[in-house]
Amino acid sequence: MSKKCNLKVKIFLILLFVGIILISPFFNLKKDNTDFLKNGISAEFIEAGFIPTSVIITVCGNGVLDTGEICDDGSNNGDYSYSTEDKFCNTSCDGWASYCGDGTVQSDYGEECDDGNNASGDGCSASCQEEGGGGGGGGGGVFIPPAVSTKVIIKGKAYPLSSITLLQDGKVATTITADSQANFTAEITDLTSGIYTFSIWALDKQGRRSITFSFTTNVAKDMTTTVNGIFLPPTIELSKTSLQRGEIFNILGQSVPESDISISINSPEIIKNVQAETDGTWFYAFDTALLEEGSHAARAKATSPEGLLSTFSQTLAFNIGKEIVGVIKKADTNKDGRINLVDFSILLYNWGVPKNSSADLNSDGQVNLVDFSIMLYWWTG
């Protein structure tokens, strides 16, 4: 009898499990990478950020040797040269364009040989023509102007193998993946010149999202604008948000491998330091006995092994002994896991006295500038 019962139970459980898996996409029962969009967060401790000084812009093609460039010959970038002495910079400003004497035969430019120098009498002339036995005349190649385009390259650090979303004026431009050391490079081509706001956010290995880092810059025509030194702050998560005094809970997240994580807990401010592992993960077991009862918040910043300093992560609230107050409503008004133009449309439609309370993000009975600002902060594109 017991065997029969066990079998029935097993079959039922298997089918129930399969059923749950099948319907879970509709209920979003699996871990939701965008939980932060749907949950309220205590507004008390959030602050506006600032651009770290590590971020710099260089423009290849402006004729100015910027930090990180090897050369920059302006509009001559990429041009072929007939001698080593007069060689020009390439279009990325990280090396030289083709020239006679670079050791590579450029037949497109009329070279018959290239022995790596501009000396004659060694079998290959100074102008890269074969010598002896009726060798050909000089040069005569077809000049091929280098392809020029308006381009933006964005480089920085996120989390190892993280998925990174790049926005251009609020819309998704591209998604890339960081390498195992958390380095990333994103490239956008075919732009018109002008002023753009680019935004970056990343998902770590556990699906936690970083803050959105934005910057505004001019993009010059027919030049490559490179933005270097971006360092996304660590992701952060709290193992519990409602605690009793004396309880220990984990503050954890991910950053650049082996970076130094500085965790700031308010208030009053307590700083704890921990080093990230080789995969960038970090955690700290915090004893709430150090704090009084009430509302508190935690955030973290990182110092990379190279000495780059990030700004602060998201600020997460927790309470000791009482409930969190002042929760700001989810900005994802249509609950699709993104905050973008659709949510903005809902906001616009409900501007003033809302017909639908989902657009009233701070629950003050109006949809106005404040709700607009809150939505822009959480924007994902």
Binding site: K4, L7, E47, A48, I51, T53, I56, T197, F213, I374
Partner: protein, 329 residues
């Protein structure tokens, strides 16, 4: 010695009080105006740029309200070209009679200020194109003003919508006190004639959501123009190939709720350059926001339980057959 100690204490006290009374530095955003010149003759058309200095703090929303001398200045146009504001709440409002201009816009992700190495100006909010009106009757020197009103606001990118401390700087123009000796200049026309580039590429989406238009189908679209600025959108819905353009803005309620029309959206910039995006609406079932009717979920659950029960019954029958095949001892 006592005198010395007393003097020393007084000095220290003085220094402490002195430092306490020193004005503390308070970071604030600054709205300000710039133009190429300060003196114009009647008929001149010139551009005033509205800019922001965020004082190293991330901001994401600006409501700018301005006043201008409506008896001296006439607003010709408003340009969003090169603006850092990617999203606008409605169109800028201009009231010539009252001499008022207002607009609201935002930057998704926030604006953090100029980055080291940025080759150009990147803090522009918008441009107002003014025309200097004629002289007054007594031909006296006249001064026109454009100022930000105290009702202007800038909000921080802090997730709370906190107001930034704000200061604002206006601008003054003088009308030249002599008869015009040359053809009035037109800075705006110069920019318009140079602009041959259409607005940026964009996508158009058909959506449906209970929170808008009582759940009817609507379009969303957005773009910018990096030169003279986006002017307006037009939308055409047609079933038989003919275009039927109407001015519209996002979100745009579709007339054809059966989704059988070809939809086109045209973005036009201030110089008249156009970019058209055409879409054929997908089947209605594809557009539904990512939500499955709860009825279908219930049906699915019932189905799974039914299958489980059926399998169990089959198994039980099979077991019974096996049982009775075994001879009773």
């Amino acid at each position: 010695m006592e005198n010395y100690d007393s003097k020393f204490k007084n000095i220290i006290l003085f220094l402490i009080i002195g430092f306490a009374l020193l004005p503390t530095t308070t970071f604030a955003a600054v709205l300000y105006l710039e133009s190429d010149g300060g003196e114009y003759q009647p008929g001149d058309v010139f551009i005033v740029e509205m800019k922001i200095d965020n004082e190293n703090e991330y901001i994401n929303t600006v409501e700018a309200n301005l006043s201008f001398s409506q008896d001296i200045l006439q607003v010709v146009d408003f340009s969003k070209g090169s603006s850092i504001l990617a999203l606008w709440v409605g169109e800028p409002e201009i009231n010539q009679e009252s001499g008022l201009i207002s607009f609201v816009g935002g930057i998704p992700g926030g604006y953090g200020g100029k980055i080291s190495g940025d080759p150009g100006v990147s803090n522009l909010l918008g441009k107002v194109v003014f025309k200097m009106k004629g002289f007054t009757e007594d031909n006296s020197l006249q001064i026109g003003r454009v100022d930000f009103l105290e009702s202007s606001q800038v909000l921080l990118n802090d997730g709370k919508g906190t107001l930034a401390k704000l200061t604002a700087k206006g601008i003054i123009f003088e009308i030249a006190q002599f008869e015009p000796t040359q053809i009035p200049k037109n800075e705006w026309q110069e920019q318009l004639s140079k602009d041959k580039i259409p607005p940026e590429p964009f996508v158009v989406e058909v959506r449906k959501n209970e929170a808008l238009f009582e759940g009817r189908y609507f379009l969303i679209f957005s773009t910018t123009d990096k030169q003279t600025g986006l002017d307006y959108f037009e939308v055409s819905e047609s079933r038989e190939g003919e275009e039927n353009w109407k001015r519209g803005e996002s979100p745009y309620l579709l007339e054809d709720q059966d989704l059988e029309s070809v939809i086109k959206v045209k973005a036009i910039d201030e110089a008249g350059n156009e970019r058209v995006v055409e879409i054929t609406p997908p089947k209605p079932s594809v557009i539904e926001e990512k939500k499955i009717s709860s009825w279908w979920i219930l049906i699915l659950i019932i189905l799974i339980i039914s299958v489980a029960f059926w399998i169990f019954k089959k198994f039980k029958k099979g077991k019974k057959k096996y049982f009775y095949k075994t001879p009773l001892s």
